[in-house]
Symmetry: C2
């Protein structure tokens, strides 16, 4: 099993970051504008990119601290069985977000693509909270010429 | 052992990308402006950030295809024993760069930080080649408020 991990520091409260990870409105500001279904543990969040996109089930919520999703239903083959988590911790003037997309079966070109793309979206989360405007799909930064 | 991997696609020839990974002038346009020592296999490249920074020995060069560095001398503890590689491949209208920073002993906050930061620098490489200007240190994008 191999994992993608990232870490950013955001000048916002843990509560503000947690909201951006657990509500449709918050998620729509940094990952994809077409986000529905966010809610309590057991909710299925539908992230859509031009119609298609993954569903994740909310697996764990610890307010202002931990958000964990597990894959739900059909998604790109390499994402089957994977989990996404966000661990929040406070610094002096920022909230750190330690992100992981874990349990990939093997490294691949596609995993490399997703790793870079997650970085772009986490910087979008940072911008959304610090500047009021992120870059969610369809306004996301492109990292190659296939997108 | 755990690895960081990333992948970007750059609208430039493999030769142009290879030059940006193997010459002081090229490296200075996307990672740090203070880069010296780049050359053939066995060369020690000194990457400096406000005076400090890592040395890497050039371990493998396959023109327009593979660049591999291994750690040399002192560097942050978790980077000791690690390797950095770039594998280039051609697409229809772009050169793909599959990046890895491999052989970390364990995942950590610092590894998460470096993973996100490498994404930022690979996008800097992409901008340098596509737009003529990247964002090398000290003009790099900050991903937290400790930098």
């Amino acid at each position: 099993m191999v994992d993608i991990i990232h870490r950013v520091g955001i000048a916002a409260s843990a509560d503000e970051v947690y909201s951006a990870l657990t509500t449709n409105e918050g998620l729509a500001k940094w990952w994809t504008t077409d986000t529905t279904g966010a809610g309590n543990v057991g909710s299925i969040i539908k992230f859509r990119f031009d119609g298609g996109g993954p569903d994740f089930e909310v697996a764990e919520l610890q307010p202002d601290s931990v958000v964990r999703w597990k894959h739900s239903g059909e998604m790109p083959g390499p994402w089957m069985g994977t989990e996404v988590s966000f661990h929040l911790s406070r610094g002096d003037n920022q909230t750190y977000v330690l992100f992981s997309h874990s349990n990939w079966k093997e490294p691949s070109d596609f995993m490399g693509h997703c790793s870079t793309k997650w970085a772009v979206f986490l910087l979008s989360l940072k911008e959304a909270l610090e500047k009021g405007e992120g870059k969610p799909f369809p306004n996301d930064i492109h990292i190659d010429h296939d997108e």
